[in-house]
Amino acid sequence: MSTDIASSESIGEINKYDFRTESKAFFKARKGVDAEIVNQISEMKNEPEWMRNYRLKALEIFNSKPMPNWGGAIDINFQDIYYYLKPTDKQGKTWDEVPQEIKDTFDKLGIPEAEKKFLSGVKAQFESEVVYGSLKQDLADQGVIFTDTDSAIRDYPDLVREYFGTIIPSTDNKFAALNSAVWSGGSFIYVPKGVKIEFPLQAYFRINAENMGQFERTLIIVDEGASVHYVEGCTAPMYSSESLHSAVVEIICKRGSRCRYTTIQNWANNIYNLVTKRAVAYADATMEWVDGNLGSKLTMKYPAVYMLEPGARGEILSIAFASKGQHQDAGAKLVHCAPHTTGQIISKSISKGGGRSSYRGLVKVEKGAKKSKCNVVCDALILDSKSRSDTYPYIEILEQDVSVGHEASVSRIGEEQMFYLMSRGLSNAEASTMIVNGFIEPLVKELPMEYAVEMNRLIQLQMEGSVG
């Protein structure tokens, strides 16, 4: 494709990064988490002192915090996990070692060869520089920073330090503390005042094995009047030999800005996916989370928006699909801290084959947040009698002059709907897939086109074979 100066320059930048990782090629921290490991991670990354101290402090907090006593059952031996792997390590794996079922799924999804190898951990670097090169230059010209968080600490230390950990402090919860101690990779985005990025920024563009890792840390700052749509994750099942994924995502939406953060994740069945995501929205800013959770053993994820100033808006759309052996404890959190703030939560969950999905949501309206409005709609679809769905709505309203609505519905696939579709020639499996896709359509149509298509295909895969 293009070998113009602009893109070769940016490739140069990425290579520089590669060089850094390759210089200490075969490092793999031993199992477990303690001060020695945390120090080692910080050292490997050549981090400034403040970050090392931040990590060590977080480790203490992690050790002192109890496990959450709600959500799903968590059975993790923290000392039996690798917390830091160099990408070059993963490169040692061969395609033959990737389990057949993962390969089959890749084939069904039509994932390109290069991407397959990356996703399964065979290749460390996703070959997207060519695509990304010119985009990156475009963004750079506008003053946008889009890099991995490790590089950001090196290249933009003041900016990172100003915001890092301010939205989700290490003290927030046990897993946020763990992430703060051992984090690696993740995205750092800064969008300057008034800059509106027209196309979705995809984690893809700058992906490598390290930041697709277990403990990524993402920080997004959208300055006044700016806007950005960030898309993370990919719909292929993410295969990892480790059993814990615990990310932290912090977002700051300044006055009049807009941020949408879209996630579609499909974890392998052995993974605990325990993620903390939170955004703050200042005056007239809009924050939207679009969050799709498939796979994993247990997902606990409740994207949050704190509306700090008048006119702020928070919207959370969440889809969860729990199949056999899976528990999706997903939901949302909206906190109205100022008058005239508007919140909306739409949650759709599907349970099948003995899977369990729970909606857990908090709406809080602080005293003085007059004329605020909040609406919650959660719909659950249960596909068979083995499966389960629960709703845990928490509502705390400390202000009189507000309007808060909550609707919840639980339904089963209707016999009449099934018969109708089958009488038009659709098989049992096709009919139920179509009904499920219809159920989540209001959310899927919010996704970028290629993700919407993938989402529907994923649902089809999830539905295959086991409909009774």
Binding site: G414, M422, S423, R424, G425, E430, N437, E441
Partner: protein
């Protein structure tokens, strides 16, 4: 082409309650049959049993299509073999666009042997065909983007059913009160639509109370259902007689069937209370 749909001694029960008690009917490709009869006599039940509704249990008798016994077949298999029913009350499928639904349905029915979920009719080709059929049936193209039967008016639903029929070109079609809830103009349009598809290109079973639809689609055969049985079969003149004079003569002539019909109605009321 010649196809035969044959129903022999059909007994059907719903929730353990006997409804059809020995229905015999033979339809050939290209024929139009009218099925008339008072409320609750079992007309819809016959249609649903032919279409393969799992709750309408065939307890005795057979349904054969071109000599093949389809009594035990699932609804989708029957649809793929060329059986279609336009429902009295089609259900809504929220979130599923009418065009997507029809594309899946048409692909399956036209290519019953293809591997599921793969190789749908190419989008461009399908759109072109759908658009043409919609304009033939005077259906707004915006319809294709709406969710299946979701928030449709009575008339829209019926037209959507006719559109589906046109897209699937079945061998045998059962129209269950497709004219009810339609005004005179809409009935004319529905009839014209059926004519457009071609009455001679399928076997047609028109279930109706009135003769509106039949006026435009004169039947070669008229059947009268009472108490879960076909008690009389005649020509187009029988449909006219029943429309003009009602079912009094039928009820008097077939007291046993009338008693069965009353019994079913009574049970229905008991359930409703």
């Amino acid at each position: 082409m010649s196809h035969i749909l044959r129903i022999e001694n059909l007994h059907v029960a719903v929730d353990g309650k006997a409804i059809l008690r020995g229905v015999n009917l033979e339809m050939k490709f290209g024929e139009t049959h009218a099925m008339m009869g008072p409320n609750g006599s079992g007309k819809s039940t016959l249609g649903l049993a032919i279409a393969g509704h799992p709750n309408y249990v065939i307890t005795e008798g057979t349904i054969t299509l071109d000599g093949e016994d389809i009594t035990e077949w699932e609804a989708d298999q029957r649809a793929r073999a060329g059986i279609f029913m336009a429902f009295q009350r089609p259900v809504a499928i929220p979130g599923v666009k009418t065009a997507d639904f029809l594309r899946h349905a048409a692909t399956n029915v036209r290519r019953p042997d293809r591997k599921e979920g793969e190789d749908l009719i190419p989008m461009r080709e399908f759109r072109k065909e759908l658009k043409a059929k919609m304009s033939q049936l005077k259906i707004d193209t915006e319809f294709a983007r709406r969710y299946v039967n979701d928030g449709f008016s009575g008339g829209e639903m019926k037209r959507a059913e006719i559109l589906t029929m046109a897209m699937l070109s079945p061998k045998f079609s059962i129209l269950d009160e497709t004219d009810s809830g339609l005004d005179a103009d809409a009935v004319k349009l529905a009839s014209a639509s059926i004519a457009e598809i071609g009455r001679d290109k399928m076997g047609l079973l028109i279930i109706t109370h009135h003769d509106k639809l039949l006026e435009h689609n004169p039947p070669q055969f008229t059947h009268v259902m009472l108490g879960g049985r076909i008690v009389e079969t005649g020509g187009a003149e029988l449909a006219r007689e029943l429309h003009d004079h009602g079912y009094d003569r039928i009820r008097k002539t077939y007291p046993d069937a009338e008693a069965a019909n009353q019994e079913m109605l009574a049970k229905e009321e008991a359930v409703a209370v």
